[in-house]
């Protein structure tokens, strides 16, 4: 840096000398696109050797005459050419969307993108922010190769983020670092406050975070003020409406009754009274369209006010943010509301710099109730209950306790949950208060002779308090869904995280050698306290507080954990051709026994800038730069519960002697004393190229990651005499590998400018060990076994429908000799106890039916500008995987009493045999088996248009008092190209059945308008 500034001084002096010879002087001001001054920009008089640089305030003065062209360029901006007039020249520089000169935030520092040797993806925040969401991890979707984001569509949804495949069975979310605070949750931050997001994907980039980094690291920085800038007041706001645009086609009353009766008759039973036209109880006047009744238009709005600026020695940024989302389901939620206040400041004097940020968030979320303990177990999430509810159940019924309708198994033959009713009766919310702050001090210990040494100490504290409240009044929605007595749950959780970090940074350039050294130390402490109160025995009128219940009870527990670390890193480059980075971190974790507490996580990477070699003769307008890089290293994962290595004493082991009650005590649960880190070893190789004079950027990489000692619950023999026979031990080995491509095209000349960037990544996954006896792990319709990928679909092989009795007779017996009829599903006899087909369809005939993990993930974004208009489009998707949809299967049941998909009108009947939908049978135990029968496993490939946003920037100072203003309109989730018949092909799921959609909430199409105004 020092050399660069010396160089600049020389240039400035030269410019001054030159100016003595000039006839006139032109003055001007260089600003960026949002109006901030750009210092250090080079201003050159076209065709002359006259140049200067802009000062702190962006101002410059140059020897030139009106009419002469000035060429202005600056690192990170597109160069421009303007013709000098008579007055001061106002120059506006536009930032480069993607540029190798960009500075990238990495662990404990920054690096120029062109010097990176690890696998690092940056998110273009300006574009990403155009997607509105309550959770900023959603912004990663489709924007970084190798990062897969899955999410449901309700307000307050928690997205799941997976970086580079399935490498663990436990917690898989990446490790977030917010403004240098490691391990901070990002859920309560406002996307408006985010300046940058960087994803560290390989060992070289992430190993500096050691034991926490195996799932990848996402580094987030928040907005700060700029020095020497007058206070700028900015308002950002939008308002929009949400509409569910997907509809499941279900049968109406007449169709439902027809199908249900047919299913009864086929099983030799009589139709249910409600469906039987000859019965006095026949329902002919109710035809509820549950999706129409239960879905409403949602609203989302966000208002953000920020004030930022700075003096010569200080900066500040204050922001207030309000986010409110009212969901699309009728009743008490889902809604999510959040208030955020944020302050970032810094000040410096001499060698000392201090700074802090403080973030306070309050949120209130009405959750869509899905509680097995209040409802019956086994029911799907509320959206599923809504879709599969029978049309002959009324939404409202004034004769029932709560005024909502219900169903009755004897009468309707169904126990359908009235999801609108239950969502209107239960009061279920979570209040979250989070206080999150950090303060740091930095000393420039040495700043001379080319040596730079900085010491930084940083402390942070993060406390989240929740109140989890559920009031369940007495309700009756049919006999399966009733609770005669009111109950109240009023629980509280307190999460505390504190950390202190100390680092020393040193850098120096010796001739062609450039060295940067980092050493540091960190201590993190976390604790969790849960206090649950429960009351019952309420009498009307109800006062839903714990004290007004006749009996109340409480429970509580707490846990603590700590992580102590030392780390160091050396970055070295020679002649801007050879790059080397090596790092080592040592972590100690309280989650493991003292003998296993410490782990070492080394990593190294090298880079070679081929295009800077003397022998490189490829013209710059073809290949502007080319860098090869490779890395290798180890990362850790300690995402398990606390204290698992410790055996504990059960103090409630009761017995009776002489008629008296005694509580005995000893160890009843097996501990995992040898538990230790999961280790993930990643090799990464790739290249970065800039082609066609900087118009095209292209990066590609390959990674091979092996996770060993993966923590997994293995089955141990009951002869051990413990109560828990699934202790967590380090037993499994998983392998992931993949390719990642990122390409970007920039067109920045003329009035029409655009950037197109796209990324594509592949995932290949294999289980190498499962531990213990290597017994497979089963998920819902899925199996995880050695030599296979995690959670593949598993079941029987469809072999058509039985044509006639002869077909049945000649086929293997199915499932212990079920009585089959033509129109039932035929399964292939593929094996038996001796590994050969045995004429019996049973558990031996199940096999792998396809992958539940997308083989490809891709994202595309386009941003374009024409004059004052700007347009942004982003899309993302996944391909090559199969989805097992609970909702779809429920709608295709042939036994039981839910509503049907209209596809079922095409079921097999003796007169309609040209179909692949089996016959209806109220006693069916055959057709519903996990299998690959048509529709059971659906192609998950999709491409969703996430945002389409059009903006217009008003001329500066068009309105008095408003410095700049932009208005925009956005359509979010415009459309999804998908074959999947459920709602979201990117649902969240469990690790052992990644392809099973239990009932994810649809993503609404959002139409919103917004403004950005600066004063």
């Amino acid at each position: 840096m020092k050399e660069v500034s010396s160089f600049l001084i020389v240039i400035v002096m030269l410019a001054i000398c030159q100016s003595a010879l000039a006839q006139g002087k032109i003055t001007g001001l260089v600003k960026d696109s949002v109006g901030n001054p750009v210092k250090g920009a080079t201003i050159k008089v076209k065709n002359k050797k006259i140049f200067t640089t802009s000062g702190e305030d962006g101002g410059f003065s140059i020897a030139a005459s009106p009419g002469e062209a000035l060429q202005v360029s600056s690192v990170g901006y597109e160069p421009v050419e303007v013709v000098a007039g008579n007055g001061a020249v106002m120059i506006s520089l536009k930032g480069k969307a993607t540029s190798l000169d960009d500075v990238v935030v990495i662990g404990y520092g920054t690096q120029r993108k062109k010097d990176l040797t690890g696998a690092v993806s940056t998110v273009n925040m300006a574009d990403a922010r155009k997607y509105t969401t309550n959770d900023m991890s959603q912004l990663l979707q489709g924007r970084a190769a190798g990062v897969a984001v899955n999410s449901d569509g309700q307000p307050g949804a928690v997205p799941s983020v997976r970086i580079r495949g399935f490498s663990t069975f436990g917690g898989f979310q990446p490790f977030y670092v917010v403004d240098g605070v490691p391990g901070a949750g990002i859920r309560d931050l406002s996307p408006n406050d985010i300046e940058s997001m960087t994803v560290l994907k390989d060992a070289s980039a992430a190993a500096i975070y050691g034991a926490a980094a195996a799932n990848g690291v996402v580094i987030v920085t928040t907005r700060t003020g700029r020095k020497n800038t007058p206070m700028k007041l900015t308002y950002n706001g939008y308002y929009g409406v949400d509409k569910i645009w997907q509809k499941q086609k279900v049968t109406d009353r007449v169709q439902y009754q027809t199908l249900n009766n047919e299913s009864r008759v086929n099983a030799g039973k009589t139709p249910f009274p409600a469906n039987d036209p000859t019965n006095p109880g026949y329902v002919s006047n109710i035809n509820t369209d549950w999706q129409k009744e239960g879905m409403k238009t949602g609203i989302r709005q966000n208002h953000n006010v920020s004030m930022s600026g700075g003096g010569p020695n200080s900066t500040y940024n204050f922001a207030l943010d309000y986010y409110d989302q009212k969901g699309t389901f009728v009743g008490n939620g889902p809604d999510y509301k959040r208030y955020t206040a944020r302050i970032n400041t810094s000040a410096e004097k001499g060698i000392l710099k201090v700074g802090e940020f403080f973030n306070y968030t309050h949120s209130h979320e009405n959750t869509l109730t899905f509680r097995d303990d209040i409802l019956l177990g086994g029911i799907p999430p509320m959206i599923g209950s809504l879709v599969v509810a029978i049309p002959t159940m009324p939404v409202r019924d004034s004769t029932l306790l709560n005024g909502f309708g219900g169903s009755n198994s004897e009468f309707n033959g169904a126990n359908s949950l009235n999801a609108i009713g239950i969502n209107s009766i239960l009061v279920n919310w979570v209040d979250v208060d989070r206080t999150f702050g950090n303060a740091y001090a930095e000393l420039k210990l040495i700043n001379g002779g080319g040596h730079h040494l900085r010491f930084k100490t940083s402390v942070s504290y993060d406390k989240t308090v929740t109140r989890d409240y559920t009031w369940q009044p007495p309700f009756f929605l049919g006999k399966f869904f009733s609770k005669p007595d009111a109950e109240l749950y009023d629980n509280s959780r307190v999460f505390t995280n504190a950390s202190i970090e100390n680092t020393l940074n040193y850098d120096k350039i010796f001739g062609k050698h450039s060295v940067e050294v980092l050493v540091g130390q960190s201590y993190r402490y976390g604790s969790f306290v849960e206090r649950d109160a429960h009351a019952k025995g309420f009498t009307a009128p109800y006062y839903p507080v714990i004290n007004s219940g006749a009996t109340n009870s409480s429970k509580g527990w707490q846990t603590e954990n700590a992580l102590e670390s030392y780390f160091g890193r050396v970055n070295y480059s020679y002649d801007d051709r050879y790059l080397l980075s090596a790092s080592l971190r040592r972590d100690g974790s309280s989650r493991f026994a003292p003998s296993n507490q410490y782990g070492y996580f080394p990593a190294a990477s090298v880079g070679w800038k081929l295009s800077n070699e003397k022998f490189w003769h490829v013209p710059v307008n073809i290949v502007s730069s080319l860098k090869l890089r490779g890395s290798y290293g180890k990362l850790g994962n300690q995402e398990i519960g606390d204290y698992q290595f410790q055996g504990t004493i059960n103090p409630g082991v009761v017995y009776t002697f002489a008629g008296n009650f005694y509580t005995g005590a000893l160890q009843t649960l097996v501990a995992s004393p040898d538990i230790k880190w999961e280790t993930k070893t990643i090799s990464n190789a790739g290249f970065d190229a800039t082609l066609l004079n900087g118009r095209l950027d292209f990066s590609a990489e390959y990674y091979y990651a092996k996770s060993t000692d993966v923590l997994v619950g293995i089955t141990i023999p009951a002869s051990t005499g413990f109560e828990n026979l699934n202790p967590t031990i380090n037993a499994a080995t998983l392998r992931n590998s993949g390719l990642e491509f990122t390409v970007a095209w920039h067109q920045h000349k003329g009035e029409f400018t655009y950037d197109i960037s796209a990324n594509l990544s592949t995932v290949s996954n294999k289980v190498l060990r499962l531990g213990g006896s290597d017994a497979p792990i089963y998920g819902v319709g899925a199996k995880t076994a050695i030599g296979q990928e995690v959670g593949q679909h598993f079941g029987y092989v469809y072999d058509g429908l039985f044509k006639d009795q002869a077909d049945i007779n000649s086929h293997a017996t199915q499932f212990g000799g079920l009585a089959l009829k033509p129109g039932d599903v035929k399964y292939k006899d593929i094996s038996g106890p001796n590994g050969k087909p045995d004429g019996v369809i049973d558990a031996y005939d199940r096999t792998y039916l396809g992958s539940g993990i997308p083989k490809f993930n891709y994202g595309l974004s386009i941003s374009a500008g024409y004059k004052r208009f700007d347009l942004a489009i982003s899309a993302s998707g996944s391909a090559k995987f199969l989805i097992n949809s609970r909702m779809y299967r429920d709608l295709h049941h042939s036994a039981g009493a839910l509503n049907y998909s209209t596809d079922m009108m095409n079921r097999w009947t003796p007169t309609h045999t040209n179909t692949d939908i089996p016959r209806l049978n109220d006693d069916d135990a055959n057709n519903m088996q996990d299998s690959n029968r048509p529709g059971w496993l659906q192609n998950g490939t999709y491409l969703r248009i996430n945002t389409l946003s059009l903006g217009y920037t008003l001329r500066d100072n068009l309105i008095k008092g408003i410095a700049s203003a932009r208005v925009y309109a956005t359509v979010q989730n415009l459309y999804s190209f998908q074959g999947y018949k459920g709602y979201n092909p990117d649902f969240t799921s469990g690790v052992f059945n990644p392809g099973f959609d239990f009932g994810s909430y649809p993503k609404p199409r959002t139409m919103l308008i917004g403004v950005q105004v600066s004063f």
């Binding site: 130390q521 017995y655 141990i716 023999p717 031990i729």
Partner: protein, 521 residues
């Protein structure tokens, strides 16, 4: 520069004091490392072993049920197929109740191992030698009892005598049948040596804690183990301890009323050597299984399982053979054997038996049901069974068994005439005539049959019959097998080896060191 490095080094040094903070202990529960320090903890540990006797797979329900159902005196009659198939000797190795029996007996083993390992290290200053011996003695007894039940039920199982230290220890290998029985005998010997005859006047926290294992329990079960192994010399020596001149002489006697052995208000009586304590009214969560809590009940579910149609689940029925067996011999008053109506609920107007659960008999007049271990006719006022709410203790070993086993030893030692008086003590209580008068001068073989008959009547539905049949070798004696088949149709589906319960399939799958037993075939 140097100063700064020193400064930083100093800072790092200070901060490395954080290391201590990595040693965080669970604030919710005591850890094993902090336990086994106080006298109270030693007692608490021993109490916790007994808890494992009160779960589904031990004496709460499935162990008595699946043992009784394999006798020729009992048969399954349940929609729960496992209960029926067990009686028919075709139970698959994947059966859940079979697994529970396995699992829950090993709970006893593990807990006893913990107590033996830790309490033996207690210093005299914390726990007196007498107290320590009693606690260790109980652990030996309970482990011996668990292995006795496992050996008689599964024939060959792993013998685990230490707390697992490493994950490799979880996968215990099957022991030979000899090693298994040697362990049972050695445990019971150690128990006998350490246990008091009574807790009434011991010096310790266990004073008066009736229900803890006694020397009599250990001596008796040890004798029974020797008898099972046909070691008549040692068996005889054990049983002699209960008679004149022995250390246990006069401690035990038969209750006058046979029914007192199955009443919830005559528990831990003079005839009882060891019983599992069940109590109504305590706790809120039923003690079926899993990690115990202080809110556990202490109830058994045998009563409701055995209870007749209309009062209980009636999952099992007594066979007609055992009913008829009781009718074979009248009492000295010319009446039916009084043990029949304690064992079997039957409508017998001639015997003035027209009630069930204090209500007028409501089932078909010809139907018979189990009564032993139900609340029917107990005299506790119950009019029905309530699911898992019975407090009737399970009698594991009775003095009547000591008498009949000693008679068997004498017969096997060719002292057949001496056997008469011991058998007669049991017959006298049932008011049956003097055996020496009605069947004088029996040969050894005749006496064996007589003892089989006597034992069948005295111990019907007490989890004894199948073990007697196995040890007498009746399954492999064609004449006897034919007899069994005539007693109980269930025996028609028996095939060699199936007299035992199979080793649970899940255990075989997960533990490569485990061997299948003959019932797995």
């Amino acid at each position: 520069m140097k100063r700064i490095i020193y400064l930083f080094a100093g800072l790092v040094f200070i901060l490395s004091g954080c290391r201590k903070k990595l040693e965080l202990s669970n604030p919710n529960l005591q850890t094993t490392a902090d336990f086994w320090k106080t006298r109270e903890q030693a007692y608490a540990g021993s109490t916790a072993i007994y808890n494992a006797l009160t779960v589904d797979g031990t004496y709460m329900r499935s162990f008595p049920g699946l043992t009784d159902s394999r006798g020729d005196d009992f048969t399954g009659d349940s929609p729960w197929l496992d209960l029926v198939l067990t009686g028919e000797f075709i139970i698959p190795s994947t059966s859940a109740p079979v697994f529970w029996i396995w699992r829950d007996h090993y709970l006893i083993v593990n807990r006893a191992n913990q107590v033996l390992e830790h309490v033996s290290k207690y210093p005299e200053s914390v726990l007196s030698t007498q107290e320590k011996n009693r606690i260790l003695g109980q652990a030996y007894f309970l482990r011996g009892l668990a292995y006795y039940n496992l050996a008689t039920t599964f024939k060959i199982v792993p013998v685990i005598t230490k707390v697992a230290e490493t994950p490799e220890d979880y996968f215990a290998a099957t022991a030979t049948e000899d090693d298994l029985w040697n362990q049972i005998i050695s445990d019971l010997k150690a128990a006998e040596a350490n246990l008091p005859i009574s807790y009434a006047n011991v010096d310790g926290l266990d004073k008066g804690e009736i229900g803890r294992a006694t020397q009599g329990a250990a001596s008796g079960l040890l004798g029974k183990a020797y008898l099972y192994r046909k070691d008549y010399t040692n068996a005889g020596a054990q049983f002699q301890k209960f008679f004149t001149g022995g250390p246990l002489a006069g401690v035990y006697s038969l209750m006058q009323d046979y029914r007192d052995n199955f009443r919830d208000f005559k528990e831990n009586n003079a005839e009882s050597l060891f019983e599992v304590q069940f109590t109504e009214g305590q706790g809120s969560d039923i003690n079926w299984c899993c990690d115990p809590t202080a809110s556990w009940k202490q109830v058994q579910a045998i009563s409701v399982t055995y209870g007749m149609e209309g009062a209980g689940f009636s999952d099992y029925l007594p066979t007609r053979w055992i009913y008829n067996e009781y009718k074979k011999e009248k009492t000295v008053d010319g009446k039916d054997d009084p043990r029949m109506l304690v064992t079997i609920a039957s409508y017998e107007p001639a015997d003035n038996s027209v009630l069930a659960y204090t209500r007028p008999w409501w089932n078909p007049d010809t139907a018979i049901y189990p009564r032993k271990y139900t609340n029917d006719g107990v005299g506790n006022g119950k009019t029905t069974e309530v699911a898992a709410q019975s407090g009737i203790n399970y009698r594991v070993l009775r003095y009547a068994d000591i008498l009949l086993m000693y008679a068997e030893v004498l017969n096997e030692q060719n002292k057949t005439p001496e056997a008469y008086s011991y058998i007669q003590q049991v017959r006298d209580r049932a008011r049956l005539p003097d055996l020496a008068t009605v069947k004088p001068g029996m040969t050894q073989a005749q006496m064996r049959d007589q003892l089989a008959h006597e034992r069948a009547l005295e111990f019907a539905i007490e989890g004894q019959r199948i073990n007697d049949l196995i040890r007498w070798g009746w399954f492999y004696d064609p004449a006897k097998l034919a007899e069994l088949k005539s007693h109980d149709r269930d025996f028609n589906s028996w095939t060699p080896g199936k007299e035992y319960l199979p080793i649970p399939q899940g255990e075989l799958d997960v533990n490569k060191n485990l061997k299948p037993n003959p019932a797995n075939g």
